[in-house]
């Protein structure tokens, strides 16, 4: 087990190395000059050149990479071109909203989707099943921003029960913090509810056909016990896998949702940094997402051993 974790962590090093090289090159090989953005519309080419010199962009690519990678290895993400702060500072400021939003989204999605999927499988081919499946098709097809504005319109504008947008730190009080996360989490959760409910249904349905389910019935257990104790845990591995993929995909979803609800998180930071061609920030954020992705996957793999005793690393 420990050897497995060590092996997996070691394997992430080349992955992150490749991500670093790729992001670095991609940013520099696409058109758009950070110096021009910083200098503004009225600057002349002399000024732009000076800024470029100052940012270190005039040096050869390889030199730039070596400097950046060297600092990175010492834990220094560099300084933002645009925000006049270190990248580390920027990220620390922005990470809380994103973490909070992602966390609530996943919790909300799992709490709603898993029971829905189980019920749909149990009531296979009934109107409940068809209802859940219909909802999940809808959840897949409607874009995040449409759901977002729809929820804002109904809950914030028409009924006025929740704030339209914005974010409060948890340090500023629990309710204001939660209140502003409900709509964004719900918005973002819709697609995951659809995804997880579907896979739960399929997975439970398959397990319900297994011999040990028949054995469980033959023992005189009630349907509820058969479903919860015997079926769900056996169906868990694919469900957990999809939840893991969901967490990884959240990164994309967060960008739109943070924009719709005006939440100052990493998603918004990414958008702003890309628009400003803020190379150090983009590089750091993408590397961070990659690390998160790798870790989530590792956790998912480790969770298999808890769910299924046959899986051992």
């Amino acid at each position: 087990m420990l050897a497995f974790i060590a092996r997996r962590l070691l394997a992430t090093i080349p992955v992150l190395g490749m991500v670093a090289v790729f992001v670095f090159l991609l940013l520099r090989l696409t058109p758009g000059d950070p110096a021009a953005v910083i200098a503004g519309d009225n600057a002349n080419s002399q000024q732009v050149e000076e800024i470029r010199e100052k940012l270190g962009l005039a040096q050869p690519l390889l030199t730039q990479f070596v400097i950046w990678a060297g600092k990175l290895l010492q834990g220094d993400f560099g300084e933002s071109f645009f925000f006049k702060k270190t990248v580390a500072e920027l990220i620390t400021q922005r990470i809380e909203p994103t973490l909070a939003l992602s966390f609530f989204t996943i919790v909300l999605a799992v709490l709603i989707a898993v029971p829905l999927g189980v019920i749909a499988a149990y009531k296979h081919d009934s109107w409940i099943d068809r209802g859940v499946m219909g909802f999940s098709v809808l959840g897949f097809s409607v874009p995040v921003f449409v759901i977002g504005y729809l929820l804002i319109y109904v809950f914030a504008i028409e009924w006025g029960v929740l704030p339209v947008q914005g974010y409060r730190r948890i340090a500023e009080g629990f309710w204001p913090f939660i209140e502003r996360l409900i709509l964004p989490s719900a918005t973002l959760a819709v697609i995951y509810i659809a995804l997880i409910a579907r896979i739960t249904r399929a997975s439970v349905l398959e397990v319900l056909g297994e011999d040990y389910i028949r054995t469980a019935h033959a023992k005189g257990l009630t349907d509820r016990v058969v479903l919860m104790r015997h079926a769900l845990r056996n169906a868990a591995v694919p469900i957990v896998t999809v939840i893991g993929i969901g967490i990884a995909l959240l990164i994309g979803g967060v960008v739109v949702t943070e924009s719709v609800y005006n939440i100052p998180g990493l998603g918004r930071l990414t958008v702003d940094a890309v628009l400003a061609r803020d190379f150090p920030t983009i590089q750091a954020v993408i590397l961070l997402f990659s690390v998160a992705y790798v870790l989530v996957n590792l956790l998912i793999d480790l969770s298999y051993t808890l769910l299924d005793p046959r899986i051992r690393y």
């Binding site: 092996r7 011999d211 040990y212 054995t215 033959a218 023992k219 005189g220 257990l221 009630t222 299924d308």
Partner: protein, 541 residues
């Protein structure tokens, strides 16, 4: 013998949903099971024997509905019992064990918890008392180290141990009726013998009535007091076992019993100077897994296997699961590469040939696999499946189809059905198609890997006859992999008995079956169910 029956089924009819191959799954069936008695319910697949078991337990799929009759369990009609009452009866008055103990146990729950669940559901005992009872029942089913068994997950136990856990779970509350649905079919023959012995023993000591479902007359002869024979949803014969086995009244029963292969090997004439087709020299296959930062594990699946097959001769490789018999077959067919040793196919050494060099030799060895349902591509017509090999080796389509039609005749199927799909054929017909497919390549060696194990006895007898006829007609060399000693006795000229990856005994079939030399062979022969019964030698016929 005048005790009231534990189970009394009368005039039971179960309807099939519209569109099935017949309107009733079970029609007008009636028989009883008394305390202290084992009643075998025998029949081929589709005869309705499992439907009866499921009806008694109230576990029928929703699409099947009992429409007439009574199923009295100790005087209570289970057909009219509600869902809650049925749940109460399960495991307390009637219990069921199933064919495949691996899949019948929940893989993510410990065995102890699974037995405990029965006690928690049906009794008010506290934890200490439940624990005491679990240990007691584990001792009764002869499982050693109760603490280890309680903490073990099903996959950590052997097949026999798992079935013992199932039996423990079924019997922990001492039900009056035990329904055993093919409980030993998935087990090795030596394990099967032990489980049968256990069921007999427990049934004697607990006054339990046992309804034992099986397709195997060997098992019937071994354990049952009375036997009920089913055909197409109807009960065709019911009576004391000796009576039915020696003087069957119904033609179907006679046919079934006569189809059971004899344990006495058949001596067949063959030429001693026939050409050598296949020879393996100290063939071995070792699997190594793990490595890189972990401990590598080594499994010797087969070691030092040296056998030979001549033209027109059948060599049987006999062994239990995990003995390495299939590994040897796969090495010979070069589906996997052996780790050491040599394979001489008509003089060419193919053990370590590369993919390209091997290709011309591939057609010389063909395999027929165990499961005819899964070894044909369901989305291709059988004609396409048969000609695929020959056309791959350059035969023109028209010629290949002409050959396919001949082969269909050879395997006794309608040549006009070449454009049908596998699902339109029965299991036995599909296996014939698989044989035709293999023969289309004009192989020198035909490997039959448990090729008749998934078939009903009557169909099995036909397919065995067919294989033998083909071997004679085409003078094929045949390698017959099987776990079934009866089958081996009937088709093999020579036999290699495998145990734990090694050939422990190798020689003439007649010799090995009558005078086994190795202890393992002796144990294997002693374990064969119904070995003392000569099936088909009817009295007063």
């Amino acid at each position: 013998m005048t005790e009231t029956p534990v189970l009394d089924i009368s005039n039971l009819t179960v309807d099939l949903p519209p569109g099935a191959d017949r309107p009733k799954a079970v029609e007008g069936v009636g028989f009883d099971v008394r305390p202290h008695e084992i009643v075998c319910l025998v029949g081929e697949s589709g005869s309705g024997k499992s439907v009866i078991a499921q009806t008694v337990m109230g576990l029928l799929p929703k699409t099947l509905k009992p429409s007439a009759g009574k199923v009295m369990l100790q005087g209570e009609d289970v057909l009219t019992a509600g869902a809650a009452r049925l749940r109460e009866l399960r495991c307390t008055r009637m219990s069921m064990i199933f064919q495949e103990p691996m899949t019948a146990l929940n893989p993510v729950m410990t065995c102890g918890d699974q037995i405990d669940e029965v006690l928690r559901t049906h009794t008010q005992h506290d934890e200490a008392e439940r624990r005491r009872r679990i240990r007691a029942i584990l001792a009764q089913v002869r499982l050693p180290e109760p603490d280890r068994m309680i903490a073990a997950y099903p996959h950590q136990l052997s097949g026999g141990q798992r079935q013992r856990i199932m039996i423990a779970m079924a019997l922990v509350l001492e039900p009056a009726l035990l329904i055993a649905d093919e409980p030993t079919t998935a087990l090795d023959v030596t394990t099967q013998a032990q489980i049968l012995e256990l069921i007999k023993e427990i049934q004697r000591s607990h006054a339990t009535g046992v309804l034992f479902i099986t397709h195997d007359f060997g098992v019937v002869a071994e354990i049952s007091h009375r036997v009920a024979v089913m055909q197409w949803g109807r009960l065709v014969e019911f009576g004391p076992t000796r009576e039915v086995l020696s003087r069957p009244q119904h033609a179907y029963t006679r046919m079934l019993i006569s189809s059971v292969p004899s344990m006495t090997p058949r001596v067949r004439s063959r030429r001693a100077d026939a050409a050598l087709v296949l020879e393996t020299k100290t063939l071995g296959k070792t699997y190594i897994s793990g490595g890189w930062l972990g401990r590598p594990t080594t499994v010797r699946a087969a070691e030092q296997v040296s056998v030979e097959v001549r033209r027109g001769e059948t060599l049987g490789i006999v062994g239990e699961s995990g003995s390495g018999k299939s590994t040897v077959a796969r090495c010979i067919a070069r589906l996997i590469e052996p780790s050491d040793g040599a394979i001489l196919l008509g003089g060419s050494e193919i053990a370590h040939m590369g993919t390209g060099a091997l290709r011309p030799h591939r057609r010389r060895i063909q395999i027929v696999f165990q499961d005819p349902y899964r070894s044909l591509n369901p989305r291709r017509t059988v004609g396409e499946s048969i000609i695929e090999g020959p056309t791959n080796y350059g035969m023109a389509r028209a010629a290949a189809f002409a050959r396919a039609r001949e082969l269909m005749q050879l395997v006794k199927l309608d040549p006009l059905s070449l454009d049908r799909y596998p699902h339109q054929f029965s299991g036995g017909q599909r296996q014939r198609i698989c044989i035709a497919r293999a023969l289309a390549m004009e192989p020198e060696l035909l490997i039959a890997d448990e090729a008749v194990s998934a078939l009903d006895v009557s169909v099995q007898a036909q397919v065995l006859a067919l294989l033998d006829e083909i071997r004679r007609k085409l003078e094929l060399a045949m390698l017959f992999i099987t776990h079934d000693l009866r089958v081996a006795a009937q088709v093999c000229d020579r036999v290699a008995v495998m145990h734990q990856g090694r050939v422990v005994e190798y020689g003439e079939a007649a010799e090995i079956f009558t005078r086994p030399g190795h202890d393992y062979t002796k144990a294997l022969l002693a374990a064969a169910p119904g070995r003392s019964w000569e099936f088909g030698a009817f009295q007063g016929a």
